[in-house]
Structure formats: structure tokens, C-alpha cells
């Protein structure tokens, strides 16, 4: 018994010593720097092994694939670390480019939604606006839009620094610098002929094009094609890039954090404000200038429904847009490797959730209010949720995303009714509500729901720490977002309105009454969208029979 006790006591003492005495653990061993000599011992698959093929994938990709600066000297440490750095940038390039390709495909979604919600007699015209908005907008953006927006945005390390974009025009007022527009990168020439800047241009260009295509929906079925072309050029060259610079290009809104201690300054992760609100508010301005379609309002101001011609087209378009949004939001990290970019998973899920709850919110509202689950408004609810989550997607958790999406789904229905019944605005596709109203709501949601867990390299807009909204303790962030909303409404809307009035005076925004009644396809485009159909305009007693 005593022997057993003695052994037990000895074990206990040993255990205590083991706990008390610091063990020379691995972490305490001095770190041995890796040298080029260590790399000489790295084995690579032999030529014979590789000649047998590699069905399991265990041989492909080894030290033998690292590019050597001097093959005679063999693999060096410098070769390895350079390869690591280039791999990070390569991953980010590929991620951003593929995301940009997805966003480009959204043009197809917009084209289907807008054309489907219009009447068959305007199908060619509406589709052509959506088609050519890509070309007109891109040309304007290449000439000057990109330079105005991103010309002073050097320092984006995810894409290698973009160092040649180092010119920002600033005004010095009240002791602060107010960045207004960039000055480098016109025609992507000079120093802007740079691999990283090309990636940035492609990604930003498809975003800009999304904003321009919002307007074509609101002004559809009565917009003169020439006026549309000029208006789109202006939006791509001036209006969009200006706000883009203020928010994303290092301009004054992004500096509200550093200059006025308002959180992290205006934060718009993927563009609820920059893309959707700019597009939506421009659409509102054009809608005011151009006026409603003939037959939309009765003399007492009551509205008439003018149904679209193809709801299947509309819902297919919504699905394509939802798919493309996975490029829009997660792609806005501008990278997948390093600097907190692994949050792309969270951003993608937030995007999916908000779209889902948005369609649910709109469906529920319409069902309760009108007794039927409305298909087109369910589609608009999906888009509203996606629009609203675009700005907060990188800063909020899934619960926040679900709430933002659902509220946007209800909000879009209220906004459509308000614009139509109170303001007498005719918006055939509801774009002003989807993108304008819900875009502004999304901007504010950053200031409310950002949970302070994101960490993109330790800072945002030059302010250390994570973006945090009012509900998580930072009232300054909400105010920064509010200033962004005021700027969109006060400056961007006004610019768009004034320019479109000028177009109206010199070119004319609206087609003639005869053209509108006949449909814009033949008079404006020279060909019908559906030449073998008999097109009948209900209530007008007119029909056009072509072909057959």
C-alpha cells in the first residue's frame, strides 16, 4: 500500500513539474531562416514518372514548375518568394476578371427583364437600347470616365498597386482636402497601359454599364434612340465617374472618416449607391423630363396598368441577374487572396440570402394587398433585395443580410405605388424603385447593420479597424452614409436632370405620338421585334399585321 502511495506521489510530483517547468517547445526554438541551399534538397518528380501520366494529380505542380530567374543557377529563394507574390496577384486578377465577366452577363438579364416588361411592339427598340448601352457606355468610360473615377486611386494592393493612377484633383476648403476627380488614365494610355489597371478597368466598366442600363428600362417605349445614346454617353463619361470617384476613387466622400471622424467615411462595398442609386436617380430624372407613356394615366390622374408582353422573359432575366450578382458583390473584394479577402464566402451568402428574402417580402406584400402573388413584383423584389445588399454585403452578417433583403422587397412595392399613384411617374419596369429607392436604402443599411467583423487588410478608406454601423455602436458611420445619400439626391440627380433637359431642348427626348402609338420598332429601328406576329394595342383599336 505504502509502495503504491509512494509511486502515486512521485507521479504527482512529476506531473506538477511537467506543468510548472517550461518545456523547450518548438515555438521557442530560434527560427532558422530558409536559404537557397535548403531548396537544393527539394525533390521533384522524375521525367520517367511524369511520362507515365498523372491520373491522381499528385505529381503535377511541383518545385520544377517555379519559374527560375537564372536556370543555370538553379532554384533560389528569390525565385520562390517572387512566385508566391505573383501567385497572390494572379489569383486576384483571375478572381476579379471572372467576377467582371459575370457582371457583364448581367446585361443580358437586364435586357430580358426590360424587354419582357414592355409591349411587343417595342421589343426591338428596348432590346437594342440594352444592347447598345454596352457600347456607348464603354466607349465613354474608356475615353474619360475611368480616368475621372479611378485616376487617383493608386494603392489598391490586391491588384498590384495600380501605381500609375496617382493623379487626383483636390480642392482645399475649411482646412481639408476634397478630392473631386481623377486625372490619370484617359484612353488607358501612358502609364495606365498596365496589367493591373486593365483588370481594374474591365471590372469598373461593367459596373458603370449596369448603371446606364437601369435608365433604359424607365424610359422604355417612348425614348428617342438618339437621345438615349447621348444621355448614356454623359452618364458613362461624367455623372457616374464623379460619384464613383467620390466613393471609390479616393474622393471626398471616402475621406469623411479621416477628415471629419465619421466612421470609415462613406462605405459602399459593391455599389448600392455608386451603381444603383446613380442609375435609379438618373432614371427618375429622365422619367420626369420625358413624361409618361400615352395611356398610362387618365385625366383624373389615376394610373392604368400596361402589362408587359412576356413574363417568362422577365423571370429568366431576374435569374440571370441574380447569377451575375455573384460577380458584383463577392468580386468587389478585388481579390481572393490576402487582406481579408476570404470573406468572399460570407459576401456570396449574404447576396444569395438578401435576394431570397427580397423576393419573399415583395411576394408577401403583393399577396396580402392584392390577393395574388404577383410574378413581376416578385422578380422586382428579388432585384430589390440584391440592390440593397450590394453596399453592405461585405460588412454585415447573414441575419443583417436577410433583414435588409426582406425590407427592400417590401420597400420596392411601396415605392412603385408611391411613384405611380402620388408622383405620376411612369416607370414601365420599376427601375427607379428597384435601383433608386432600394439603392439608397442599401447605402443607409451599411451605417445600420455593419457588424464590425470585416477586416480587409486592417483598414477601410484609410481608417484603421472594421466598418461598424449604428446598431453595433458607431453613429458616425451612419452619418457618413447619410451624407452619401444626400449627395446622390442633391448633386447626382440634379446633374442628370439638367443634362437631360439640355438633350430635350436640342435633340428631343421623346418620339412623336404616332411613333409611340405604332410602336418604336419600325419607326426608330427599322425592323419589328416580332415580324410574324399580329400586334394589337388593347383599347386603341389599332393593329399592325406584318409578314405571316
Amino acid at each position: 500500500m505504502s509502495k503504491k502511495r509512494g509511486s502515486f506521489a512521485a507521479l504527482a510530483v512529476l506531473a506538477l513539474l511537467a506543468l510548472a517547468t517550461p518545456v523547450p517547445a518548438d515555438e521557442e526554438a530560434p527560427a532558422v531562416p530558409l536559404t537557397t541551399a535548403d531548396l537544393k534538397g527539394v525533390t521533384t518528380p522524375s521525367a520517367d514518372d511524369l511520362a507515365k501520366g498523372d491520373p491522381g494529380g499528385s505529381l503535377t505542380g511541383s518545385a520544377a514548375d517555379i519559374v527560375m530567374a537564372d536556370p543555370k543557377a538553379g532554384l533560389t529563394l528569390a525565385d520562390v518568394v517572387n512566385q508566391v507574390g505573383q501567385n497572390r496577384i494572379a489569383i486576384n486578377f483571375v478572381w476579379t476578371l471572372v467576377a467582371g465577366f459575370l457582371v457583364m452577363f448581367m446585361q443580358a438579364g437586364f435586357a430580358l427583364v426590360e424587354t419582357g416588361l414592355c409591349r411587343a411592339k417595342n421589343a426591338n427598340h428596348t432590346m437594342m437600347m440594352n444592347f447598345m448601352v454596352y457600347g456607348f457606355g464603354m466607349f465613354a468610360y474608356w475615353v474619360m470616365g475611368f480616368a475621372l473615377q479611378q485616376g487617383g486611386s493608386a494603392g489598391i494592393t490586391n491588384l498590384g498597386g495600380l501605381n500609375p493612377l496617382n493623379g487626383e484633383f483636390k480642392l482645399s476648403l475649411f482646412g481639408k482636402d476634397w478630392g473631386l476627380f481623377g486625372t490619370k488614365g484617359f484612353f488607358l494610355s501612358g502609364g495606365a497601359y498596365d496589367v493591373g489597371i486593365m483588370v481594374m478597368f474591365l471590372f469598373q466598366m461593367v459596373f458603370m454599364d449596369t448603371a446606364t442600363t437601369i435608365v433604359t428600362g424607365t424610359a422604355a417605349e417612348r425614348w428617342k434612340f438618339a437621345a438615349f445614346a447621348i444621355s448614356t454617353f454623359f452618364l458613362g463619361a461624367i455623372t457616374y465617374p464623379l460619384f464613383g470617384n467620390w466613393a471609390w476613387g479616393g474622393g471626398w466622400l471616402s475621406q469623411l472618416g479621416g477628415n471629419f471622424k465619421l466612421g470609415h467615411g462613406y462605405c459602399d462595398f459593391a455599389g448600392s449607391g455608386v451603381v444603383h442609386s446613380v442609375g435609379g436617380l438618373t432614371a427618375l430624372a429622365v422619367a420626369m423630363v420625358i413624361g409618361p407613356r400615352i395611356g398610362k394615366f387618365n385625366r383624373d390622374g389615376s394610373p392604368n396598368a400596361i402589362p408587359g408582353h412576356d413574363i417568362t422573359m422577365v423571370l429568366l432575366g431576374c435569374f440571370i441577374l441574380a447569377f451575375g450578382w455573384f460577380g458584383f458583390n463577392p468580386g468587389s473584394t478585388l481579390g481572393a487572396s490576402g487582406a481579408g479577402n476570404l470573406r468572399i464566402g460570407s459576401i456570396a451568402v449574404n447576396t444569395m440570402l438578401a435576394g431570397c428574402t427580397g423576393s419573399f417580402g415583395a411576394l408577401l406584400y403583393m399577396w396580402m394587398r392584392f390577393g395574388k402573388p404577383d410574378a413581376s413584383m416578385s422578380g422586382n423584389g428579388l432585384l430589390a433585395g440584391l440592390v440593397a445588399i450590394t453596399a453592405p454585403s461585405g460588412f454585415v452578417n447573414t441575419v443583417g443580410a436577410a433583414i435588409i433583403g426582406f425590407s427592400a422587397g417590401v420597400l420596392v412595392c411601396l415605392s412603385v405605388e408611391f411613384l405611380e399613384r402620388v408622383m405620376k411617374i411612369d416607370d414601365p419596369v420599376g427601375a427607379t424603385s428597384v435601383h433608386g429607392t432600394c439603392g439608397l436604402w442599401g447605402v443607409l443599411c451599411v451605417g445600420l447593420f455593419a457588424d464590425g467583423t470585416s477586416n480587409y487588410g486592417g483598414s477601410w478608406n484609410g481608417v484603421d479597424g472594421s466598418v461598424t454601423g449604428l446598431f453595433y455602436g458607431d453613429a458616425g458611420q451612419f452619418l457618413a452614409q447619410l451624407i452619401g445619400v444626400c449627395t446622390l439626391v442633391g448633386v447626382i440627380f440634379t446633374l442628370s436632370y439638367v443634362f437631360n433637359v439640355i438633350i430635350d431642348v436640342f435633340v428631343g427626348q421623346r418620339v412623336s405620338t404616332d411613333v409611340e402609338l405604332e410602336g418604336l420598332d419600325l419607326p426608330e429601328m427599322g425592323a419589328l421585334g416580332y415580324p410574324e406576329f399580329q400586334l394589337v394595342t388593347p383599347g386603341l383599336g389599332r393593329s399592325i399585321e406584318i409578314g405571316g
Binding site: L284, R299, C486
Partner: protein
């Protein structure tokens, strides 16, 4: 009327940004921004009313 409405819209933005410059008190700044937004939205309403006042669907010839 339309000119006045545009002045209101831009004036709202000036109010909001002016609040940032004028004071460091968060409540005052927020109040100025909210008031500015309200003024801008009222301006948009006035601008729209100016357009609707002469709308063709009210029966006047286009």
C-alpha cells in the same frame, strides 16, 4: 418653379455638408443631414409637380 426646385435640391445637399464643416457635435451634424435630405426630397417633389402641372394626360393637346 423648376429653377426654384433645383435650388432646393442642391440646397439640401449644401445643408448636409455644411453641418459637417460648421460643428463637430454628432447630433447637430445628423440633424443637419436629415434636414438637408428632407429639403432635397421636397425639391424633387416640387420639380415633379412642375412637370405634372402641364402633363399631356390632363387633357391639354400635346
Amino acid at each position: 418653379m423648376k429653377g426654384l426646385a433645383l435650388v432646393l435640391i442642391v440646397g439640401g445637399w449644401v445643408m448636409a455638408v455644411g453641418g459637417l464643416v460648421a460643428t463637430e457635435a454628432m447630433m447637430v451634424r445628423t440633424g443637419a443631414a436629415l434636414a438637408g435630405l428632407a429639403v432635397s426630397l421636397a425639391g424633387i417633389g416640387a420639380l415633379n409637380n412642375a412637370h405634372v402641372a402641364n402633363a399631356f394626360w390632363k387633357g391639354k393637346a400635346r
